[in-house]
């Protein structure tokens, strides 16, 4: 019988296994770092860490999960008892400790299921919109039946004297069983053990085709997850010399997805936590990370290698173009996902194919690519000769070829160089570094776009061209330390340029400024201004840098108010993923939503640490016509720590 169930289960699992085998191999970077991966199994799987990001649902799930793990030996116990009613698991089977553990965890599972039912039926959070609710109900019902039959079976065994080990629940239930006659009790015991084992085997057969498969796939999926900052995308290895049929520009069809990306699809439980935190979904756009994964999963399952002859394109069959282009790559979904699904990287792979193979993207984004490709090498197609206009009136060393390398190279970034509002932060940063006695220089016209917006848009080829050139400029200049005031430049320089031969010590301006204040090289005075800080996704969530900007702010104000969504749960400004250069659909704008959240803190100032956040939130501020001023942390520090020599304060 066990063999028959296993065979049935395998039949249901085989297409999944075949799909995983046919998937593109993972990048070599997905192996190694064994200690870190093992540690993550302990925290994320055993410790349920990411589930506990939401306490009550986390506790609910942990009760069921831990119960499931602890109760596993009872399956063997039942199997033994089927053959020999007197039989027990060796060593632990007849101990009171084990009986207690079974009862306590069985009870915990039932409590967990009850909580799940209350959440699903009474509370009905919006994150379940679009999930398969009926399937979840069936699974909860099966879990209940399995645990109840287990406890009742244990009770009959106690009543029959088949075991001396009594737990609190089974012992209590056994009291009721005593009323039955011995013969009836024996029949009940036999019936219950069979029912219990059949339910378990039924569950095993049901599992592979269901969303509950995560109990098998979650652990390997967590194992394969990134061991590097979330902001680093895996390089697309473009081999123009290889055979043409092997040439892949991202993910076009089901088999272009990597093994990890495919396992992601089989790990999703449709819990909707990602949907709950997605800025696109929150502002009425079609993208929900959950529905994206479900759409891809259903498509990949239908296209399983056994069945379909010709593979259909993923876009628009599995997910629509609009969904692919709504993503701001903020990583909130990845941060939230209990099983470490990497939604953003998959979306970028879909974009890569659309942009490089089909030249298919929102029309207005063409100007961005033309600008970055063009002579000025910046998203706004400004002339390179205007790159130093921000420095008018300041004395800034521009590093010419052959010059002595500076202690710190300031990577200005295109926004910091060309955007009027961002320039103020650029000027503040330079003035602060100079006031602290740092030997700082910039590349001037030799600087170009890092390639971040091109890469996030999917134009990997353009990104790689820019990366290689910038790396060669930086290496030739002998640069060792770089400071960047743009979160996107910072991420690309720190995490992505090492893949192209550029390894530097890269710090964000907030980190350097915090250090200079700490070391007493800058002397801000605290003022009574209420400030709230907006975490930039590419500084915070993608690089775990939350404290430095807050440290700077702590030096200029005694009143730092946090927004409800802060640090790793922060809400994007709407600019990431090259969305800054695209139009935004949906009901509301992401920047307006975030600005309203900032304004609700009652702060006088919203501090930012990235020029794109600055411009997005300032636009929202202008649209609102009231509310806090939007200012970069460097500008706030400069106002407080520098003399007002240039008349700007």
């Amino acid at each position: 019988m066990v063999a028959a169930a296993a065979a049935l289960a395998w039949r249901r699992a085989a297409p999944r296994v075949a799909t995983l085998r046919a998937a593109r191999p993972d990048d070599p970077g997905r192996t190694g770092a064994t200690a870190e991966r093992a540690g993550r199994e302990l925290t994320h799987v055993i410790g349920q860490r990411k589930l506990f990001q939401r306490f009550v649902p986390g506790l609910m799930h942990a009760a069921i999960f831990w119960g499931f793990v602890v109760l596993l030996p009872t399956i063997a116990e039942a199997a033994i008892a089927i053959v020999d009613p007197d039989g027990h698991l060796p060593l632990i089977g007849e101990t009171t400790v084990f009986a207690w553990i079974v009862d306590v965890f069985g009870f915990a599972v039932l409590a967990g299921v009850t909580a799940a039912v209350v959440i699903r039926k009474v509370q009905r959070p919006d994150r379940f919109r679009g999930s398969h609710l009926g399937e979840a109900d069936r699974i909860l019902l099966m879990i209940t039946a399995i645990v109840v039959s287990l406890l009742l079976w244990q009770a009959t065994r106690i009543a029959l004297g088949l075991t001396d080990a009594e737990g609190p629940v089974s012992g209590w239930l056994a009291g009721f069983a005593d009323g039955l006659g011995a013969a009836a009790l024996e029949r009940a015991e036999r019936a219950l053990v069979w029912i219990h084992l059949l339910l378990v085997l039924g569950f095993l057969v049901y599992l592979p085709g269901s969303k509950h498969l995560h109990i098998v796939t979650a652990a390997p999926n967590v194992w394969l997850a990134k061991t590097w900052p979330g902001g680093r995308l895996e390089p697309l290895r473009i081999d123009l010399e290889g055979p043409e049929e092997d040439l892949r520009f991202g993910a076009a069809v089901a088999t272009d997805l990597t093994r990890k990306q495919t396992l992601d699809l089989f790990s999703c439980t449709e819990c909707g936590r990602c949907q709950d935190v997605c800025p696109a979904w929150a502002t009425g756009k079609p993208l929900s990370p959950k529905l994206l994964i479900m759409g891809l999963r259903d498509h990949v399952v239908a296209a399983s290698p056994a069945g379909v002859v010709e593979l259909q394109p993923l876009v628009p069959n599995a997910v629509t173009d609009e969904v692919v282009w709504d993503c701001v790559t903020c990583g909130a979904c990845v941060q939230e996902c209990p099983v470490d699904i990497e939604h953003v990287d998959t979306i970028i792979d879909l974009r890569r194919h659309l942009v490089m193979a089909e030249s298919r993207f929102p029309t207005e984004a063409g100007a961005l690519l033309r600008g970055v490709e063009g002579a000025g090498e910046n998203p706004w197609n400004q002339p390179a000769s205007a790159r130093m206009d921000w420095a008018a009136g300041l004395e800034v060393r521009v590093l010419a070829a052959g010059d002595r390398a500076p202690e710190v190279l300031f990577w200005v970034g295109c926004a910091g160089a060309f955007d009027e509002r961002a320039r103020e932060a650029t000027r503040s940063t330079v003035r602060l570094l100079q006031a602290a006695g740092i030997d700082v220089a910039v590349l001037g016209q030799r600087e170009s776009c890092t390639g971040d917006p091109a890469r996030r848009m999917g134009h990997e080829f353009l990104f790689q061209t820019l990366a290689e050139r910038n790396v060669s400029t930086l290496n030739e200049a002998g640069v060792t330390t770089i400071v960047a005031s743009c979160a996107h430049c910072f991420n690309t320089l720190a995490n992505e340029y090492p893949d192209y031969g550029g390894t530097y010590e890269v710090v964000h301006h907030s980190e350097l400024l915090a250090r200079l204040v700490r070391e007493g090289r800058l002397h801000p005075s605290r003022e009574s201004v209420a400030v709230t800080y907006h975490d930039a996704c590419y500084l915070g969530r993608h690089n775990d840098k939350y404290d430095a900007p807050r440290e700077v702010l702590g030096a200029v104000t005694g009143s730092l108010e946090e927004m409800p969504r802060n640090r790793e749960r922060s809400f994007c400004c709407g600019a990431g993923g090259a969305k800054f250069w695209m139009e935004e659909g949906g009901d509301t704008r992401i920047n307006d939503t975030r600005f309203a959240e900032a304004a609700a803190t009652g702060a006088d100032v919203v501090a930012t640490a990235c020029p794109f956040c600055l411009v997005m939130l300032d636009d929202a501020s202008n649209a609102a016509g009231e509310g806090p001023e939007v200012v970069d942390v460097a500008t706030l520090l400069a106002r407080s720590a520098l003399p007002t020599a240039d008349g700007k304060r």
């Binding site: 100007a367 063009g374 002579a375 000025g376 998203p379 197609n381 390179a384 009027e420 695209m582 636009d619």
Partner: protein, 320 residues
Amino acid sequence: MGRVWIWADVSAEDVATSALELLTKARALSDDVGAVALGPGAVASATALGDHGATLVYASDDERLIEPTSRVAAHTLAALVASHAPEVVLFPSSYRARDVAGRLQAITGSTLMANAVDLSSIDRARAEILGGTTIVEVALEGASPHIVMMRPRSFEPSPVGGTAEVVEVDVVAPHGLAAVRVLERTDAAASGPSLEGAKVVLAGGRGLGGPDGFGLLEDLAAAIGGTAIGASRAAVDAGWVPYAMQIGQTGSTVKPEVYLSAGVSGALQHAVGMKGSRRIVAITKDAEAPILRLADLGVVGDLFQVLPALTEEVRRRTGR
């Protein structure tokens, strides 16, 4: 002094101005100037081409020459080139010319120089690089003919009053042409005055305060005439006017003779779409607004007073 040919874009109605521009340069380079005109209208174009300095016009009105892949035209031209051996063939930068030039280069294995702005001799072309900041002189080497595609309006057309001899051309149609068929032609529907083609553009921003504010711009537009109205992204995002009116990075790029803005701050997003305008006038109440740095004439004041007064004055002068 070698033989110089130019490619003439022709249609049933007329010959493109670009052909007449190219003839000006061709005459300066050589006395032996020919023009190649392929497709309906070609023979009739010989008059204008001769008037502008072509001594010979190779022409055919055959319909097959305008099939969509330009293969027939390219092969026909290649046959002409093989028998007459011009040293240079000048092309304009139209889509059709690019198709033909690219194919001609592939067939002849010669040299193609694109995006040139001038020729100093038959083997030296000039081009602007790095966003127009640097001019380079490029030596044309390799097999003849040198194929050079010129940017539009690089030369002025100038009639010399000559007459060209028309040479009828035999059409060369390569195999496999049936691969592409034209099923239908549709012209993109244009609604309202086109922002990108307008001589005068009025742009409104958040400073207009709401959809009604655009009424002030409409009044002014009516007084001036032939004027298109655009908007900054802020006004579009606020829902005051449709996205089609947006000027800037993610909207239209305009280069009118006169651009006048009211209540536009001139954020980079907007500026990249209008800074190529010939004359820029900005009305804003913010003396620090970035647009004032781009403007030839900046008016710092209340647009609700300035605009009606301006409209009044324009009406007085134009009588509209």
